[in-house]
Amino acid sequence: MVLDARDISRALTRISHEILERNKGADGLVLLGIPTRGVGLARRIAERIAETEGVEVPVGSLDITLYRDDLRRHPARGPQHTEVPSGGIDGCTVVLVDDVLYSGRTVRAALDALADLGRPDAVRLAVLVDRGHRELPVRADHVGKNLPSARSERVMVRLSETDGLDEVRIAGRPGEGSEQDGERA
């Protein structure tokens, strides 16, 4: 166990504050979670912003399946839902939210997907865990926990919305625990 429920909660609270600080308030902010677990995290961050600032920040989801660079390496899987807030993203500051930052390829795909949806003023990245091993020049703006890991290890994120409990675990070898979205390269 790397993070328990309280750790996760504290990390999200901190990230929420960082986002507000960096943006100087909640104006023009749009949170887009990357399915599956990024969506839940984005909603939690929005809740915390609402508590702090009293402002409802628009939350949506941005599926990157159709933009992945490794589509051909796996059997085709269906895209998950992309939901852009009704106000759109043009001129906004979009914060992409995901559970684990690993190779950076997901973020690369997300930036492509975002470009097809509009032209935000700025795009930032918030992740619960950064486990290193970047393959692309990508850096997170807001990180819940830096988690140095070996490539052979598996980082498993569970959230109550999708998995019934909040925790982050690290497993020594493949096959231990179930396949998680957080494992996505």
Partner: protein, 311 residues
Amino acid sequence: MRKHLLSVDDLSLDDVNTLFTTAAEMHDVQRREVKKLPALRGRTVINLFFEDSTRTRSSFELAGKWLSADTINLTGKGSSASKGESLRDTVLTVASMGVDALVIRHSASGACHQVAEWVDCAVVNAGDGTHEHPTQALLDAYTLVRRLGTLEGKHVVLVGDLTHSRVFRSNVGLLGRLGARVTVVAPPTLMPSGAEAWAAASGFALSYDLDEVLPKADAVMMLRVQRERMSGGFFPTAREYTVGYGLTRDRLATLGEEVPICHPGPMNRGLEIAADAADAAQSLILEQVSSGVAVRMSVLYHLLAGEGASA
């Protein structure tokens, strides 16, 4: 999903649900300013149409292009037999160009099954003779599910030239799989041979009496009737057909206002469907067309995006 889509029988219920879920996402993309997705970049799709069909061909072409596949249309009128080239020669020639999928429309039933035996790439049946038109059935069902919420337990009525309809053959299989109760209506001369045994085995109902069936319908699908059928003695006159089997203004009035009306097109207005019915608020005919692109995007995506889907 199997490698090819030749018949609705190639699809499990799970496959259909997956295709519909993806189609819904594709449908959203259609409303965007930028309609292009990179999912099939580098893939090549050839629409090989041995029979004219502007709408199906355009629909597949847009579907391929919006997924960033290189999409080419090839049309060959008449059977290749008349040109001295076998169908096998023709498709192998095309497939040898390095193609990931062949979308095939042919005037002979079973043509796509034959082609799938010969080529390595994926084959999508875009209508083979009077056999099947699986993507049409998928888009019909998809459109109805969006309107009705579900097809489970819904009574869907198909009316028209069943003998010569590939749309009927694909729909009757797919609608049944999705839990719909299906009744097909036609004059006896336009019922397929052996329809009684088929209906009994597959659990759909037959009727010669549209007025008896229509008030119990949850959805109505009108099928095209070719005027040329009259010369085959299938019915005496267009007028008589319309009186017996057309969705006329009078019959429209007996339908519930919420009962959707579908037609795969092209319509013979005034023959099998009155203008009032085609243009009614409950008509899904244009929605079928827009759903068609989304459903075909979904089909191409699932056949071509993943591993092992390369020529």
